[in-house]
Symmetry: C2
Subunit: 234 residues, 2 copies
């Protein structure tokens, strides 16, 4: 019988359990082995979901760039022992915009059955809410921090957007959000539609889509919060 690997989403902001499906409660009630981006966050999350669940017997393995090899050998060991495993990111869906896909790829090679659970994804919710093309889109991760590489990359993605009628998406760390918004307003064409989606699923979420020339007339003033940027050159 193949081992099941459950990909378990977390809320986009702590405590927002109403954004999670019942499946998350069901599977986390019985899993005893987890590979996670951050053990502290993951433990706190399990305690929130199941206040009565004994957390101490649970086995944890943390994955980050430094501990990749360790996480892969833990995966192999647990699969050989026949344990089902949960994978959790710091927030949102694991293996999207985070290093979790390395574990999933290894699990495929070990003939595991991968079970993705539905849940909140800032990228997907931003795309839904942007009004931009949801039938052709691309996510580029983080853009270069410095000029002229940043300008070049923005223009390259805008060219791809025009060629394929493709919504372009990227993210930035909270403290560089305002700088990236300014760079996008400076380098994109005036008629390109730009959506700024900040703090998605939180009560103070801000999701606005306007032509770049309208943003230029009223420049965005962004807080240092998680933000998704999306644009489409039609």
């Amino acid at each position: 019988m193949p081992v099941n690997i459950y990909l378990i989403p977390l809320p986009l902001f702590p405590g927002n359990l109403a954004s999670l499906p019942a499946d998350v409660w069901t599977y986390t009630r019985t899993l005893s082995h987890y590979i996670v981006e951050n053990i502290r966050t993951a433990r706190r999350f399990l305690r929130e979901l199941h206040p009565d669940l004994p957390i101490d017997p649970i086995q944890w393995c943390e994955i980050d760039h430094k501990k990749e090899e360790e996480a892969l050998s833990t995966l192999k060991k647990w699969v050989a022992e026949g344990h089902s495993i949960g994978i959790m990111s710091e927030a949102g869906c694991p293996a999207i915009a985070d290093p979790g896909s390395i574990i999933v790829a290894a699990a495929h090679k070990l003939q595991c059955q991968i079970v993705p659970l539905s849940g909140p994804s800032a990228l997907l919710m931003a795309l839904m809410a942007s009004g931009l093309n949801g039938q052709s889109f691309a996510f580029a991760g983080y853009l270069p921090v410095k000029e002229p590489a940043l300008q070049q990359r923005i223009k390259e993605l805008e060219t791809l957007s025009l060629k394929y009628n493709q919504t372009q998406m990227c993210i930035e760390t909270p403290y560089r959000t305002q700088a990236l918004a300014q760079a996008l307003c400076r380098h994109l064409q005036p008629g390109t539609l730009l959506c700024i989606a900040q703090n998605i699923s939180a009560p103070n979420a801000l999701i606005t889509t306007k032509a770049v020339q309208q943003w230029q007339a009223n420049p965005p003033q962004l807080d240092k919060l998680p933000t998704v940027f999306l644009w489409l050159k039609a």
Copy 2:
């Protein structure tokens, strides 16, 4: 006060309510106006969620390519009257891989507040489960049906995959799924990783990632079911 537009996901297969967050129950309990891809599906879904909810007073507007103008003028009218509106697709998340984004774009112009709810998305869940790069990816919609356009498009997307280390995704209607799987096995490079994700979130889901040469050795035999194809040329 701005009008709220709620983007409400449906399960990927009928009845799978355990894949939906509590938010979906909360908002659908009070909304009285809906713009949907299919009224019959939407009514059945509301009845499943809230067996005691009076469905008859609810106002519906169906959106498809033929009725786009009608849906847009209904949106304007309802927003002017101050009604909050729910948008629902046939399955999964609205405005992703369906025409719903036209309504969302118009709602932005009418200064509405867009509220995306989390929920199941076949594309996102396939990407999570594929083990392919989740830090750079693109969705191309449907590929051309006929050769040589199909081969050209597959090779173009494979080139983009290599250039940007970008996972490529596409979908196909159930009855052409087997033909597209064969075309991908024929036209992609032997070392390219190909994930076939069929009937995601259903008990008979099949999510397999292998090199194209391994698929060629054991050709996929796909049922006529919703399928996402993903590939990465490293």
